[in-house]
Assembly symmetry: C2
Homo-oligomer: 266 residues x 2
């Protein structure tokens, strides 16, 4: 039976709201995801929230009822609350009907099976949570084995990244690793490391990709360090005809990934 | 000679800050752009701000000096100020060194020369300013003739859209039009209307694009209305192997645009 919370001063509400900050997420090992679409995606991938907040209006929706049942069935707490509290939890004026609190599920290089996918996405010092979420969606769409985040990256469990991923956080494994760990792991088995770069004459469409291909994109502002580029089996560039700045990092990743997908599919 | 403003209560500061709201932008016909990179891009494309705010520290940068000179030379105002005011103007804790205030420059279908480019981007009810800016960057990169916004769209002159465009707002013309005006204009000359859709079997790589190609992407959440799809010369789909939601709208636009570019370049 769902409990009801209507006071913003409630300690659980304050605690959950604090998960909007990275420090608290790390302390608690929990993160926030909002919206029926994302929570349903999570459920279909076997992730049930520890806490589920929903409004009285939301409670009539069959998908919300299913979520409430699953949360209680798995020992979590379903909490009926009001629009004001949902708004505080999600940080949006126009709150989603549901907010879920999940246990973080970071992955590790050691558990990845590189034979399980043709494409693996690798992003170096990714800074923008929207880009991270968008790259996860692309990863889902091209059937990527994982998104591997190299170096100091934006938190994949941040509210903005989860939101931008539209649920792909629950379908594509995310690994955080240092370059010094990633490189030996990569070289311990098959894998073509392809770096996206401006310092090459190889057009991304002319290059030949093998499987598994690890597609490395550098930091949004600086690109990747020269020593990382030097380790790549191949550098490729995407032509840019324009006058302004280079492509958005998530866009460049997707353009490259779709070329690799097309080649793999023949 | 630049004037100096250090009080946040200064009426000009309050007026400029109000440009963060769409209503004030429309009233004044002005918008905000921030950062040396974007302002330099603007300058190289012949757009000089009406007002230029910069910090004392910023004043020593040669590019800032060039901007100050150009602004004063063209009858605008260069204003030295402090980090706090720059922060209020840009809405960022860590403000950029410069904030510019530009006259809006909306374009119109009637001034577009469809023979001037092979690719034209058309977005229907685009809602996310980050997507709009990202699509403009892609437009710049593929040499698009313009971005045509159909129906009720996010404001291309919003702070977030300008920021995400990384300067491409100044290099790619943006037109806002109703579908009922766009379609007769399109049909008054050559042009292949290509709609990105999930309701087709035509893979975007198997399709044959002609020039000029008008690439239509629908609303982020709903896609395009059936009556718009019915007017397309061709519908194409991007394969999605995954379990989560479809691709981000800006990513899908880019994947399609780069395929068209590759075909046009042979």
């Amino acid at each position: 039976m769902p409990r009801e919370i209507s006071a913003f001063s409630n300690p659980l509400v304050k605690r959950i709201q604090s998960l909007r900050q990275k420090r608290h997420r790390r302390e608690e090992g929990l993160f926030l995801a909002e919206g029926l679409r994302i929570l349903t995606e999570a459920r279909e991938n076997g992730r049930i929230p520890e806490y589920l907040f929903f409004s009285k209006e939301g409670a009539s929706h069959p998908l919300v009822r299913t979520l409430v049942f699953d949360v209680e069935d798995s020992g979590g707490q379903a909490i009926q609350t009001n629009a004001e509290i949902l708004s505080k939890l999600s940080g949006k004026d126009n709150p989603q009907a549901v907010v879920g609190v999940f246990t973080e599920f970071p992955s590790a290089l050691s558990v990845l099976d590189r034979t399980s996918a043709d494409i693996w996405l690798v992003a170096e010092r990714l800074r923008d949570p929207g880009n991270l979420g968008t790259i996860l969606r692309t990863g889902d769409a091209v059937g990527a084995g994982a998104l591997i985040l190299i170096g100091e990256s934006v938190d994949p469990f941040s509210v903005e990244a989860v939101r931008a991923s539209m649920g792909a956080l629950f379908t594509v494994p995310v690994v955080q690793a240092e370059w010094s760990d990633f490189l030996p792991w990569l070289r311990s088995g098959p894998g073509q490391l392809v770096g996206l770069s401006l310092d090459t004459d190889t057009d991304y469409r002319a290059a030949k990709y093998t499987s598994p291909a690890f597609l490395l994109t550098g930091n949004e502002a600086q690109g990747m360090p020269a020593e990382y580029a030097a380790e790549c089996d191949m550098l490729v560039k995407i032509p840019m005809l324009g006058k302004a700045d280079s492509l958005n990092a998530a866009v460049a990743t997707a353009v490259m990934a779709y070329e690799v997908l097309a080649q793999h599919r023949g």
